[in-house]
């Protein structure tokens, strides 16, 4: 029963025009960044390399090489992954509340489907939608940029270091990062989903999810010592950006990067497990509430 139900949920999601707004939004952001960097890329690279131009030779050829598809994808990922929670909340927040609002929740719940099964399928469908968004983004941002800008080594400019990965050592990092982002966004989906169970219209959960993420992100970004050790390590927003860890490499004793290495893999796994913990917490609570809930909508 699980599979037919899942198919129905996905059918509903992907038959709805609203769903494609998210896909359109992602395409728009990706294309905007690509167009901007196609025309003004060297100026952007100048800005990033400003700091080292006194010690190093920066010429047009170097800038052209740095401005390759992998870097473009990295820039896009940094831009989009901040906005993605909204797109995820749009569907996950609507998942139960939208059905309640349309009066179809009570209709569905008079069918011989257990509530736990129903809610898990709903959540799974939200997660699949999230993954589809990421796949779409990967197609446009990674493979699209690779086509438009070509490929070369990836240079990641950090605030106190420059990370360089060889061209052949990049794609797997992106795949890993996309998988990580899928988990991170599933945590957002789980939160929106939990709120969706509590509401009877979809605007509430969507706005509430975004508000929580904004507040948590601000807390995560704030460099105030009392939060650093106490609150920050436990906020899921802190861990949502850990995908970047896949683009930080290890070096040997002579400062030469090690191909295929990750600077701090345990940190990524720790973040991942915290996110998974949140997913279980949110989805579990949602299930628990929904099982007990009187459906009054």
């Amino acid at each position: 029963m699980l599979l037919p139900l899942l198919r129905i949920e996905l059918y509903k999601i992907f038959r709805r025009p609203r769903t494609y707004i998210s896909f359109g939004a992602i395409a728009a952001i990706v294309w905007l960044v690509q167009i901007a960097l196609k025309f003004d890329g060297p100026a952007y690279i100048d800005l990033l390399l400003n700091n080292i131009k006194e010690s190093f030779l920066i010429n047009a050829d170097l800038k052209h090489k740095i401005l390759n598809g992998y870097l473009i994808c990295f820039v896009i990922l940094n831009t989009i992954l901040i906005q993605m929670p909204l797109l995820v909340a749009l569907v996950a927040g609507d998942s139960i509340a939208g059905e309640a609002n349309m009066g179809t929740l009570r209709l569905s719940m008079t069918k011989p489907i257990g509530r736990t099964q129903y809610i898990l399928v709903k959540f799974l469908a939200s997660v699949i939608y999230t993954v589809m968004l990421l796949v779409w983004m990967a197609l446009l941002a990674l493979f699209g940029s690779m086509l438009i800008f070509g490929t070369n080594d990836l240079i990641v400019m950090r605030s106190d270091s420059i990370e360089q990965m060889r061209a052949y050592d990049v794609v797997w990092r992106y795949l890993a990062a996309f998988c990580y982002a899928a988990v991170a966004l599933s945590a957002v989906a789980a939160l929106a989903f939990l709120l969706s169970v509590l509401a009877e219209n979809s605007i509430g959960p969507i706005i509430a999810t975004m508000s929580i993420i904004i507040v948590f992100t601000i807390l995560s970004e704030m460099n105030i010592p009392i939060y650093d050790e106490t609150v920050k390590p436990w906020l899921f927003t802190t861990h949502m950006v850990a995908w970047k860890g896949f683009f930080y490499v290890k070096t040997d004793a002579e400062g030469v990067t090690i191909d295929g290495s990750i600077q701090n893999l345990p940190a990524i796994f720790r973040s991942l497990s915290i996110l998974l913990g949140y997913i279980i917490l949110f989805a579990g609570t949602a299930t628990w509430i929904f099982r007990k809930k009187d459906i009054l909508s």
Partner: protein, 340 residues
Amino acid sequence: MQANRIFFSNHYLFRSSFVHSFTDPYFQMNHNLLKVSHLTKQFGEIKAVDDLSFSMDKGFIYGFLGQNGAGKSTTIRMLLDLIRPDEGSIEIFGMELKKHRNEIMRQVGAIIERPDLYKYLSAWEHLKMFATMSGIKYKRAQLMEQLALVGLAERAHSKVKTYSQGMKQRLGIAIALVHDPALVILDEPTNGLDPQGIADMRNLILSLCHEKGKTVLVSSHLLSEVELIADSMLIIDRGRKLVEGKVNELFDPSEHLCELITSDNATAIEKIRSSALGVYLKEEREEAILLKAPKEQVPLLVKQLVEMDIPVLSLHTRHSLEDYFLSLTTKRDAASSVKN
């Protein structure tokens, strides 16, 4: 309980469809198709349903009456496991709802109020989806037949957002019936329909029962709609059962209902029960005592009440169910009309 006892002691007037019931296992096991005992549900301070008990037999149309807010919807939602009762039990097809929800729901079709449905999907897509959710294997012809039954065959592939209110309601019915359920529960199915739509709905319900042998529970706040089609009736107010019985008994032109109000109802009931008048006793309530007697017996009944020294304040006789319904349900708020 008293009311129940009286109800069951009455004989049935068999309808053609009732014959099916003899072969039904639930009937043979002396089970009701649906049995509700002491159902109670409280929302905060408000008791939406209060110690409600009733039962339904297979193959009949049951009218479930009460004003808006009387607790009909809450009751129906409890029957469908949408709302969990605080107390009491529900048995459908001889199985406890709490334990056998999915088994029961495979045989129950319901439509509650007016669902908006998925505006971006067609009637056809709706039926396919809900057929799957009902756990049945369907054929295309079968679903198209369902749509034809509710008059939506021609618009089967138009999106629901282009449908009128009546069409949506009919689609709702088709969804409720898609898996050919034995028990059909319709909550205010005529709400928002035009007169023609109401007439169509009435015919549909009658054919479901009489031609397809289904048991139908239909709720309404309009007695006029239910009395034309229902075999039996349950009237509730403020979550409590007022009356339960066969329509032809509640509405037997040869019998009159007498609503007796005395200055001391408790004593009056005692006296009536121990006298020959006890056979006429229909229901005891704080505010009134209901007696049911053949029309020609009414003058005698009045005489006997006086002879028994019962301080009669008023005695109203009713001969219309509508009138009866009004009398039962408008007391708490004289200003509100049942025909709102």
